[in-house]
Symmetry: C2
Subunit: 389 residues, 2 copies
């Protein structure tokens, strides 16, 4: 390991509160607070109107300040996807966390059991070995855990695939004093991204019917499902009306990325629409070619698994400029077909992007620069960034 310097050079902050937003150092992740707050209010109001609990997924934001803004509005707690991810939220005072995932290995079970001293924690299982491992861990730690059985309702990822297996696990959980069977997790990630509104509605109806089948089988066997949790930003409008879910766990609605922005929404006053609140502030760093400009943000500043980012101009997706390719630290911008090079921004110009996929993009940054109107408001640390164990 290098010998640490007595006075090491510090990394400058990306912005200062009060600064004009066009002076944010780039690339930086920027949150438009007015839009963000509308998104939070809209989801909370919809959950409240449906009489369903909102437990937003913190894997999307990894930011305790955002979790506190969600619980202040009425969220019952948060979801985390990994055990270590929960730690900064517990430190920030979040007292009710659902690990919406299985945990692998005795070490993670022990950590989870020890964290249960500081917050009410629940976790998913889909195998008998996991139940036994959790039971041993809470025994050693002298704590308690709520346990949900994860059921596969079409995602084809984790979760048991028949009611017999779900019932076996539920009964196994009840045999351990320090574990409480709380109900089911039924999440279908794939359907969140079906573009057509009717296609999502139909997929959500099918998923809800499968979930209802599991609930009915467990209740018939005397295993009460106090919690049935699931749903994401693409499906919650249907999940809230399904009568099956007691709790929804959307994450991306906070930000809205280009992928979710590509979903069709319904018309009419009942439509649940969320707005783009999250941007990557970038700068044009090279204009040496006549046919393109190069931005200072590439693969290390955005996730591209769900597509390249949108260029955001005048409050909407640019109709003239496209982000065409991402290298590690460069982004290639060209005129969209039908436009001349005159639409290209000059050297040093700021360009805003809407990332393709918010969750893994947040996971690249240590700081979220919040803005209100044209001024920087605060720097929010993304404290769970990188906590994937």
């Amino acid at each position: 390991m290098p010998t640490p310097d007595a006075n090491p050079l510090a990394i400058p902050a990306p912005a200062r509160p009060g600064q004009p937003r066009d002076q944010i150092d780039t690339p930086s992740l920027v949150l438009d607070m007015a839009v963000f707050e509308r998104n939070l209010d809209r989801m909370q109001a919809a959950a409240r109107a449906a009489g369903v609990a909102l437990r937003p997924h913190a894997k999307a934001h990894k930011c305790p300040d955002i979790a506190l803004a969600q619980t202040a509005r009425g969220a019952v707690g948060i979801c985390c996807q990994k055990v270590t991810e929960a730690i900064p939220f517990i430190n920030a005072g979040i007292t009710d966390i659902h690990i919406s995932n299985e945990v692998a290995g005795a070490g993670k079970a022990a950590l989870l059991a020890s964290l249960a001293r500081h917050a009410r924690l629940s976790v998913c299982v889909d195998a008998a070995e996991q139940v036994e491992e959790l039971a041993r861990a809470v025994g050693h730690a002298d704590t308690r855990l709520d346990v949900l059985v994860e059921v596969d309702i079409g995602q084809q990822r984790c979760g048991v695939t028949d009611t017999g297996a779900a019932l076996c696990l539920a009964e196994q959980i009840t045999r351990h004093d320090r574990l409480s069977f709380r109900g089911l997790q039924a999440y279908h990630g794939g359907m969140q991204h079906l573009r057509g509104h009717a296609a999502r509605r139909d997929a959500a109806a099918q998923a809800a019917a499968r979930t209802a089948g599991y609930v009915a089988a467990l209740e018939a066997a005397g295993m009460h499902c106090a919690v049935v949790t699931g749903g994401g930003t693409g499906s919650v409008e249907f999940d809230l009306r399904s009568g099956v879910y007691t709790e929804i766990q959307p994450g991306s609605y906070v930000f809205m990325d280009a992928d979710y922005g590509s979903n069709e929404t319904a018309g009419g006053p009942a439509a649940m629409r969320f707005e783009h609140a999250l941007f990557i502030a970038t700068t044009v760093m090279s204009t040496a070619s006549a046919s393109r400009v190069v931005l200072d943000a590439g693969l290390k500043s955005m996730a591209v698994d769900s597509g390249l980012p949108w260029i955001w101009q005048d409050g909407k997706r640019s109709a003239t400029l496209g982000y065409m390719a991402a290298n590690d630290e460069h982004g290639i911008v060209q005129p969209l077909p039908g436009n001349s090079r005159s639409v290209l921004p000059p050297l040093g110009a700021g360009v805003l992007l809407v990332p393709g996929h918010c969750d893994p993009t947040l996971n690249l940054y240590d700081t979220l620069v919040t803005v209100r109107g044209e001024a920087v408001e605060a720097l929010w640390p993304i404290l769970a960034r990188g906590l994937s164990r």
Copy 2:
């Protein structure tokens, strides 16, 4: 901002030195030291034999311990791609750093000029405005910078596109006392990943010929190019023999990812081959389905821009198992065609992956767990992780 706890819960380390490697918490990034050292020695020996300087690219590893291992073997310094990225390396005692990129804006130029108090720094330009901005910055900071003109030799990204523009910039640099014109950067990223050995050889020859044309034009005008820097892991075997480059700047050879592993290498004793030294240690977290298992590592633990990871078994790419899909925190593993479900690993089993693209994968982790043989040797902090400004 949340009120900080007086005694916040800490994030457990991924491993302890001396521990067996199969006890590393997952997902974690693991470096096999014996292979790593062979890769470093092989590249340094090739550069030395060719009489060309080796300046490895630190954007690949972002880890001062690795930079020190490179300079200890004879590397003349390192490349960084961003100004903030250089800071942890300066703190660790690296004294010669080339920013192999243009910098955008007065703030970054000022930071770069101030860092020049602590190390010899060079930077690229491809526009007159950049030269003037650098000149103002070193004037204010009372420091000096070496400046290289970046030329486009086929990458179609940054860099001037004709010899006249290159000459103009070189002459402009020499008009500023605190800036020194050092030569050219000529890098072609795209050709690094051409799969066929002959295709890469031909592309490298074409790139070297273009570079030689720029050098000749500048030298003819009296502008001496003391440094001609470029080359990457896929092209260095040709670049070293080209007679054009005074310096190579490969990065990925340290690790070798699945993308570079897919390049064909030549046969014979002269072939430059590098071995896979970097792995993601993962665990099977769900086996609820008969047709697949689920790993605990997805998009937040690896970059997938250059393809999904390989599963690594018995010192080579698995012929029976494939990593088929990455969700945010999950990886789906299935038998490859022709194999039955009996090849699937059991719940809790460890699975090693070779990431598709090393640079953005390193950028996701805070710690590199180094192993020698079957034991953990050290935890190396990836201190430039996330420093993309």
